[in-house]
Symmetry: D2
Subunit: 336 residues, 4 copies
Amino acid sequence: MIRVGIFGITGYAGYELARWLERHPAAQVAWAVSESSAGKRLAAVVPGPLDMPLLAAGQADWGAVDVVFTALPHGVAASTARTARAAGVRVVDLSADLRLHTAAAYAQWYGADHPAPELLPTPYGLPELNRAALVDASAIANPGCYPTSVLLGLAPLLKAGIAQLSAPIIVNSASGISGAGRGLKQNLHFVEASENFSAYNIGRTHRHVGEMEQELAALAGAPATVIFAPHLLPVQRGILSTMYVQVQPDLNLATIRDLYAAQYAGEPFVRVLPDGTPAALSYVVHTNRCAIGLTLAQPGLLIVTSAIDNLIKGAAGQAIQNINVMFGLAETLGLR
Amino acid sequence: MIRVGIFGITGYAGYELARWLERHPAAQVAWAVSESSAGKRLAAVVPGPLDMPLLAAGQADWGAVDVVFTALPHGVAASTARTARAAGVRVVDLSADLRLHTAAAYAQWYGADHPAPELLPTPYGLPELNRAALVDASAIANPGCYPTSVLLGLAPLLKAGIAQLSAPIIVNSASGISGAGRGLKQNLHFVEASENFSAYNIGRTHRHVGEMEQELAALAGAPATVIFAPHLLPVQRGILSTMYVQVQPDLNLATIRDLYAAQYAGEPFVRVLPDGTPAALSYVVHTNRCAIGLTLAQPGLLIVTSAIDNLIKGAAGQAIQNINVMFGLAETLGLR
Amino acid sequence: MIRVGIFGITGYAGYELARWLERHPAAQVAWAVSESSAGKRLAAVVPGPLDMPLLAAGQADWGAVDVVFTALPHGVAASTARTARAAGVRVVDLSADLRLHTAAAYAQWYGADHPAPELLPTPYGLPELNRAALVDASAIANPGCYPTSVLLGLAPLLKAGIAQLSAPIIVNSASGISGAGRGLKQNLHFVEASENFSAYNIGRTHRHVGEMEQELAALAGAPATVIFAPHLLPVQRGILSTMYVQVQPDLNLATIRDLYAAQYAGEPFVRVLPDGTPAALSYVVHTNRCAIGLTLAQPGLLIVTSAIDNLIKGAAGQAIQNINVMFGLAETLGLR
Amino acid sequence: MIRVGIFGITGYAGYELARWLERHPAAQVAWAVSESSAGKRLAAVVPGPLDMPLLAAGQADWGAVDVVFTALPHGVAASTARTARAAGVRVVDLSADLRLHTAAAYAQWYGADHPAPELLPTPYGLPELNRAALVDASAIANPGCYPTSVLLGLAPLLKAGIAQLSAPIIVNSASGISGAGRGLKQNLHFVEASENFSAYNIGRTHRHVGEMEQELAALAGAPATVIFAPHLLPVQRGILSTMYVQVQPDLNLATIRDLYAAQYAGEPFVRVLPDGTPAALSYVVHTNRCAIGLTLAQPGLLIVTSAIDNLIKGAAGQAIQNINVMFGLAETLGLR
């Protein structure tokens, strides 16, 4: 039985982790930290089905766990990861701290010195694309929610070298509101968020652009430029990315689809949809799956739609998938 | 042209007032106060179609207005009303401060000394039930949202003396989330409020119980007891009250319906629904109307359903209806 | 491994059954029937994560299953249950057909002759209240969604004899829209159902009244009268029942709470909430649990709030709980 | 007073027309046709605040009206328009029938012979871009909802010749569910539409592509290619289009914004948002306005966001704006 500690359990990703771990046959939560609510019970803080005591970070018993999940704000997460590593405990970091491979890239996108540069580079925890690097890893950087939908949706194109990277890839995404976190903001008030839809941080300003471009370049073996327009969607959970990619003009849809089928053959959590069926949140919410749709808009212009549940495949589910790989368990364990 | 000042325009009721006054042919907004956002523009604070400068309370030009709406927290509102009256300006108060007729009742339900007891009693601004007292009034207490739905739904029974007031009247209400205000609270976060439904302040603890019982007693000429269970409903606006009233056991539905029809004949904003049609929010949202449904559950037990838009008939629309009465205008002016 | 057949898998309850059975370690779906979509694949009919072939009823292989779930319209379900029993296959019926104990009661509430009266009475499958009758049962009547919330919420009062049954019990319930089924109706169109809230079938006309009164009478050992006002709530899933019960006027809340605590001690799926915390959907959706809140509104008048997920504890989850009991498995198996 | 007839009043656009005409000081509804509900009352068919008798098309009294709105399915609308014109009654057609200027274009995009080719070309009723052609017009083609958001968002670029039309314009749109109409479809059921988000008819297959390209070409004086990905958004109303346009690489944002400001100076219903503020539905829903945001993603790549209320500026409001122009009234009359 893998013994797990959770940092940040009262956030949406941390709570989702705890819900899924309830069902995991080979992992169980030993303790959970919530710095802001230490000393209270979880059920008193989050009105839901779970309950357990909430610890302060200083109360973490490192000897009682094999691995910790750090579902913390960026900056704080890496410091916690450092402490865990020093105690010999493995880490899956759900923040952005360990996703970029260099402190320079971190400084560029996050505007701050990296809090624990000695941990870089950390293996990027997207098992479908990077599985080998995750087996027996001592630390894994859990990918961002938007990047997960984008990378799974584009990887076959870039690995096969059929995307024309001289043109930018346009990524139009919409995320359910849990993606904005549990903190209180005026635009997340029910009355302002419901019956609304809005773009934010569009162009090349959202921090996930750096993460996407790093991983796309690794897949393609060449630089890629992403134009990214995220939108706030009045649903609890789910991300749909609609992506516009220039491809070689003589490619037909069947050829492209075969590439995707080959890339994802045997992957339990990726589904390439039948022709003419774009992705929808309903295919994936409350699951660890990614659904991908392919449409050739005109010769040379492919539209890829990619849907995930931002809290599961985009956060907690993928983190559990990552410990399954890390510890040599069946990758689907606890994720049905 | 009636010149209007609005206190508290960035709240939901204040903003709704401004939206409706845009269309009013005989009233216009001279200025608007937002203490928390003074110096900014309305469009920068509230992402919607309106724009105008926001003043501090101290900048209010009393000479430029004939009447002010005080859409302010209780406690603050009465002080502002006092200042307005001292300046010879009329007031429609949308807070709870002027609704209870005595400082003692205020102290009982609001747990504080009344901030301007010399203004009590103020006429209660429910025109369908109290029109005569509002003509030429210098101040009007705009009713609470829940009480508006309840009083319009029950008045014919109580005026006719057919409710058996020895038993409590059970009022089960659900309110859209704008009723909880624009302030930030965890349970109003989209992710926590959507796909949720919850009761709060149930029994006899909600402050509107005092207001309901005061007015019900006035209608009946005898004390009435209300058991009240409000619920938070994941919609932007609307209140539905489902009320259980003991009536004389030999009454049939036709007789009761005739009472309602007689009470509300000629009322432009009240609609008694056909038999077998309970009230629904869709009948009334975005209007100043109240829809009432009647069902005889068994001999002697009547179920009344009453629906309003909490921001319109439950707040801003009723306030405009009140100035129409106050200034001798057609009561429906600006309210279509 | 228990082999399961599902009738009506494309409905909301049937699909939910299949989702939960995916995770059940001791049961698995052998086949699934959808009369309306026979010959198609499930993924082509319901846009979600599951896929399997859909059979016609006539293709059901009775030798391949140990138990069937009949998630079918009333009338059809009992006929299918009869066929299953004739084939020696056990049945959990999710329709209303087997809930009422006599054909006369069925005729009264459903306006038709009972389709398989020889199956009556069937044990009523609410394990927390009727567990002994379900062990090794060959057929179980899965309770209605509203009655589940009501009976769990009221049982301790009625068993202890402290509800005053000379007065009717008032049950004000709100159900998420999946409770109305997957069939197309104008009032279930997103534009008409969202931002709306409405009562329907209020008084004593809803068919679940008969079921509630049957079971309440069994608990109390005396007749009970229910006044029932269901409402259509703009959420996908969840039922909240707010109930008004006359109790002995000298009882205090602590005494009542102790009764509930004793009744539900050791029950994994029932949670009695702390004082001052009414039930909310967020405590229970996506779980098999029931949350119960208690408030003494005034001496002698208790308000009980009871929340469940209508598709889980109100349908599919309870059905799985029932096969766990029926086959002697741990009752929580597959239901975390 | 302009006397108005409405064909198709029980649809969402027709009903919205009637709601706004209630407030119009110079127009009033003489009669309304609903072929499917003829003989009933409006309030019995649509649960909302309006009521009036519903006629069959054959009962239309042409002598009692000056203009009719045809809010009908395509194909039917043009035939009705022909009848109206033969009776000397003006027409604003809310269907697609009169939007394309030739029968050949209609056949290409709608797959059918045009039902009334003698009415082509009809002036395209987007007053901000085509006002002169609408004054005193006998018939006006009311634009599609998606095209309205797209054309207002792109017009200044195309008129100034700064969009590089050798590249396709990518239009990523999301529409509230009223855009899909009031008819019953599985994907519009509340349970399937809420908490969902999906793309449909993506690429160059949606019929509005033809309409957009016709009008863009007219603005630019050269052909333009549109790649269009519409999405179904779980809100009642509103369209947000996020558009990616290649522009001359040396243009800066200030220059572009000045173009927009000049184009829309004095337009009461178009608002160009401040820098850094993308459009959101909340700026425009329940109004006849369009809000436009501008972002330069990188040199040469502009992102335009454009929001409207699909039922108002995208249908009924624009139709009223069109009769205001047609009859020489103030253009904002009845549209505040």
